[in-house]
Symmetry: C2
Subunit: 681 residues, 2 copies
């Protein structure tokens, strides 16, 4: 505690502020609102199985004590209602509360630990698309086994198999070598009752325990180039019981994918180091989620993996060098099922690992995960799925056909190649508005909910400073510069403005826009002509890939756009469309798909039918290699303009006032299937 | 060389002596005989593929230079003809000769190295029983794989699988994780031609090499409690290209099986040490045979194993404690096929291991190997197979039915429990003859080919001394004592003889026979009443087991007896029958089956049909547990007499003059199915 008066809610309404970490979501609620209700109305995932009756203990949160100047909050224990009997009885860890009983009395910062975090997400996903039924690859069967009889000698395994056939109709099973030494002790310890785990796709007995056992667990892993995320699930129900993420330790071999491939090219055998690093990270995550959930790592009997082709290959111990150049040949594209131990992963000795299939050399198992989570093939709507990273992976289709490609966007959308670009981290500019008259910007910075023209902003960001601009910020600033007339439709920063506005200034032979003034020896943050060009190239590549698929599909409009991954979660889709990253579409029908790849991994983990579906679906996808597609270059050139040289973006213009587009002469209009299009205005 | 005149052959015929190691076989041949011819006439296995024309180089032997007083030989290079041109051209290692060109000029000791040793043995076996065709579990397939095409992206594995299906009709293969990293380098190094190894029983791709490859190898291993023997075979042809054996290092945990089981009972988890020891020995043998054959250990892609149930379990990492007591439950009786790596064996990363099935708690995969090598089920003759170790494993049957049991003979046949018993090693008495009039013995000792009444015997054994009596010696001495009337049919040493012959003397309350007189402070070697009783118990157990199976089969006579294993190779079957170890049978129809268990392992290694056959055959075997069979005790008591209380041994008596049998009264004759037998004389 300190001398400062406690922040006691909104001065007008008296509502209390609650900030949830790690999501960063925040809102104000009347005194007495439970933390769980607040979380629900903010869309923060907190698990609760008992309907908020303090019975299940799953909705635990942790109060973060102390001052949070960025949030303008001092958070302390007496800003929540006192512990109730059920909380005392449960013996919660210090600082832990049941969110269904803790009520807001003042402003608080509340952390949602992984074990409480993610259940809703899967249930929501499952509820979205299909029933919550699961059909895990690894199933438990409890059997009563006949005791040995000297008069009719037979091995314990034979009698166990007889029981499995008699009680469960299972026959012809293979048996893991690791099971054999466990067999006799388990049968005797369980008084001739035992539970076995059977990997059904390979009809293999992979584990045995004495007596009855109800639960085993699986790990769904999304191996990203930057971060690796793992979800621990109950295989019987599909329920997520813990989640964790960490940086991909391969980053020490190269920040982006291509530099890791280069590392292997320069250091023959270096793939072993990269493989070892990613596997060690998966094992560390497994330890972390197992600890959080109170299980042993040996209780994990199945795992599923998604990742881009290079991560996919490195996880499997395959050198990615062939993916570094044409013809971009995958070693293996089909789904891979292996003993986890053969992938160097020490879970249960019989644990299996399922790696989702890749689609093409640049369209990986992560996209397969997105496909599985989104299932565009179940709808008549023509859906566009876009997952933006260093490459953009693009899927377009509906019930009838599916197309996929990868566009070489480069890392500009991740803030690289931008003069003041940086990763999304505290201090990075994430939101920008530019007054079209004065050209004055307003910004917001990660870690602070205030806009730069609000009182207290300077103090709030004093800790981190304003350090650069992240991916979503760069999209917004360039779109706002375009809306304000600073950037012309052809991407030029209008030098004429420099004469009447100090924000626009000469920068060598081109011009730049000053977003944040320099101060105290710190250089100003400017958006340069090169920055705009980098984004133009990236967005043109993305749009050209999308348009290539649209041409193949023979369509002029998509019905729905889903943006997957972190980029999709953070950008404002309106600005993405204003800049022309994505084609025209009703803004209501553009949304974030969240971590759809990870969701796909979880679905494949707990449901063998999902595995069969994605394996079949991937075979149906028509793969298009942009690198050898002559149309791609033409489409790319057309897409350099903001939002586009020929696409009228009629729906967008109906919602947002855009600057006039340049006039295209009839001679410039492309021929062929696009020749029939209306003249652009 | 030394001053002594060279031993220049037989003083009468001038023939030269040749001694082959490691077999110890020896013989005299005219000057100019080739070493290969000498070997052949002695039954020494030396490989030769070119018909003795100095072309194939496979018949290499090594001249052992120096003095061999035990053999009465000085062996030196000029006791063989000079090197011929072909030998010079081949660049043989020092001391090496081609046995087809080296001719005897004097006495020599010649070592047959493993690489030259064993081919004939398998060819003989194969020629015995069936055609030499093989159908290995792991087969090689060479394919030409389509190159990747960006326009139709597919993984290299998919195109490899397409080629395997197109060229060889193979589809739906699983793929080992270890293959995936090899795939792309192999296809490119081989210019899109590659050879893959497929484990056909599991339809799994286990290995890949660039270009064409013609040969891979397998290892057949006989895991005995005392020694482990390994044969390296070409999988394509079944040919044995190297062999090696070594002591089972588990001996440090206990000389016999039960003491090893006790070790595990006393040291929970101790099975890991025993498993580690046997696996390390298998790997060392693999290294040895691979080196001898000039291949890499990684070229071994399949392995087969036989062993008694305890060795079988320990190889698989299973604690043998359940086998140490009733109900003697095997963990697994069916055949086991696993990746060799899962058994802790580092051959090729995808290598498989096949462990033959066990038959019952005391009748193991070694007996399955004997069954496979001997195939009693293919004949109408009623065949008795006996494999004597600490237990005797017994199989009886023909085309119609097969029976098996194990008899608790104890280790007396191995020289244990005998006052002067020892393992078969230089210095051990292996042959005995007793003059029925004077009761004077003549003996032969391992490591010396002279009988004790021949000139030079004392000098020849001076080095080792006469240290004890081995298994075959103890059978002979007691049988000869019986033939000489020293041992009466009830097993008593006849004390009445002590009055008139110094060889028979009082030994406490019983009598003993002095086989070797004491000298120079060395105690005499005597056969005591306890020694005779130990052999009586062992032989009665063996006979009772055999008779139990004969009763089950409803037969009074067997047509053929095959004695497997080292004991069977060394004993004189006549003496075994005189003592009543085995039932009456024409001596012409009693023979050694050699290392039939090891032969069975080799057959299973190179032929999947043999695996199916033995798996089916083992299921057909009717297992009889002597420990719970009431008849066993009665049969055991009858079998205590020498040769037997009721069995007339008519065939044997026609060939050998036996002492009169004691008269059995009609009241003593057993009832039931034996009641109709002729009265014994």
């Amino acid at each position: 505690m300190n001398e400062r008066p406690r922040p006691e809610g909104d001065p007008v309404t008296g509502d209390k502020l609650v900030v949830f970490t790690p999501s960063g979501r925040r809102g104000r609620f009347p005194v007495g609102t439970t933390v769980l209700d607040a979380a629900r109305s903010l869309g923060v995932d907190i698990e609760s199985a008992c309907g908020g009756n303090a019975q299940c203990g799953r909705c635990q949160v942790e109060l973060c004590e102390g001052e949070y100047p960025k949030h303008g909050v001092t958070s302390c224990a007496d800003h929540l209602s006192a512990l109730v009997t059920e909380e005392h009885e449960r013996g919660l860890a210090p600082g832990r509360r049941l969110s269904c009983t803790a009520r807001l009395l003042g402003d608080v910062v509340v952390d949602v630990p992984p074990a409480s975090q993610v259940h809703r997400q899967v249930v929501r996903k499952a509820a979205d698309a299909r029933t919550v039924e699961t059909e895990p690859a690894v199933r438990l069967y409890t059997v009563e086994v006949q005791q040995p009889d000297m008069h009719s000698p037979s091995g314990d395994l034979t009698r166990l198999e007889d029981a499995l056939e008699f009680e469960h109709g299972l026959s012809g099973l293979a048996v893991d070598a690791a099971v054999l030494p466990q067999l006799q002790p388990a049968l005797r310890a369980g008084a001739w009752v035992a539970t076995v785990a059977v990997h059904l796709p390979h009809r293999t007995l992979i584990g045995i325990w004495p007596g009855r056992r109800e639960e085993v667990y699986g790990l769904a892993v999304d191996v990203g180039s930057t971060t690796i995320a793992a979800h621990l699930c109950r295989l019987g129900t599909g329920e997520v019981i813990a989640a964790a993420g960490r940086m991909n330790p391969q980053i020490r071999f190269g920040e982006d994918l291509m530099s890791r491939v280069s590392y292997v090219m320069m250091h023959p055998g270096g793939e072993k180091e990269l493989t070892g690093a990613v596997r060690a990270a998966v094992e560390a995550l497994a330890d972390e989620v197992a600890r959080d959930a109170g299980i042993a790592r040996e209780d994990i009997v199945d795992a599923s993996f998604v990742g881009n082709p290079i991560m996919h290959h490195l996880l499997l111990g395959i050198s990615p060098v062939e993916l570094g150049g044409a013809p971009f040949a995958l070693a293996v594209d089909r789904a891979v099922t292996q003993p986890a131990a053969e992938l160097g992963l020490a879970f249960h000795p019989g644990a299996r690992a399922y790696v989702l299939p890749c689609i093409a050399g640049h369209v990986g198992a992560d996209t397969a995960g997105v496909l599985l989570a989104e299932r565009p093939d179940l709808s008549d709507d023509m859906t566009l799925l876009v997952d933006v990273g260093t490459n953009a992976e693009i899927v377009l289709g509906n019930r009838r056909r599916l197309f996929a490609c990868s566009s070489p966007t480069g890392p500009a959308f991740e803030g690289a190649q931008i003069s003041c670009g940086q990763r999304a981290a505290p201090g990075a500019i994430e939101r920008v508005r530019i007054d079209p008259v004065t050209l004055e910007p307003r910004i917001r910075v990660i870690g602070c909910e205030l806009w730069s023209d609000e009182a207290g902003f300077a103090e709030a960001v004093a800790g981190t400073g304003i350090t650069g601009i992240c991916g979503s910020g760069i999209i917004e600033v360039i779109a706002e510069m375009y809306l304000a007339g600073i950037v012309l439709p052809d991407g030029t920063i209008d030098g004429a403005l420099a004469e009447r506005n100090a924000r626009v200034r000469q920068d060598g032979r081109t011009y730049a826009y000053e977003l944040v003034a320099g101060a105290e020896g710190r250089a100003p943050l400017c958006i340069t002509q090169n920055d705009v060009r980098a984004i133009q190239l990236a967005k043109a590549a993305l749009y050209a890939g999308v348009r290539l698929l649209m041409e193949r599909a023979g369509i002029e409009r998509v019905d729905r756009i889903r943006l997957a991954g972190a980029f999709g979660s953070h950008i404002d889709v309106k600005y993405a469309m204003i800049l022309g990253l994505i084609p025209d579409c009703s803004l209501d029908h553009v949304s974030s798909a969240g971590n759809a790849a990870g969701t796909g991994a979880r679905m494949a983990l707990v449901d063998v039918r999902a595995r069969r579906e994605i394996e079949n679906l991937v075979r149906r996808v028509e793969k298009i290699e942009t690198a050898v597609e002559p149309r791609f270059q033409a489409l790319f050139v057309d897409a350099m303009a903001i939002p586009h040289r020929t696409d009228p973006y009629e729906t967008l213009r109906a919602a947002v006032t855009l600057p006039e587009m340049p006039t295209a002469t009839a001679a410039e209009a492309p021929r062929g299937r696009r020749a029939g299009r209306r003249a652009v205005r």
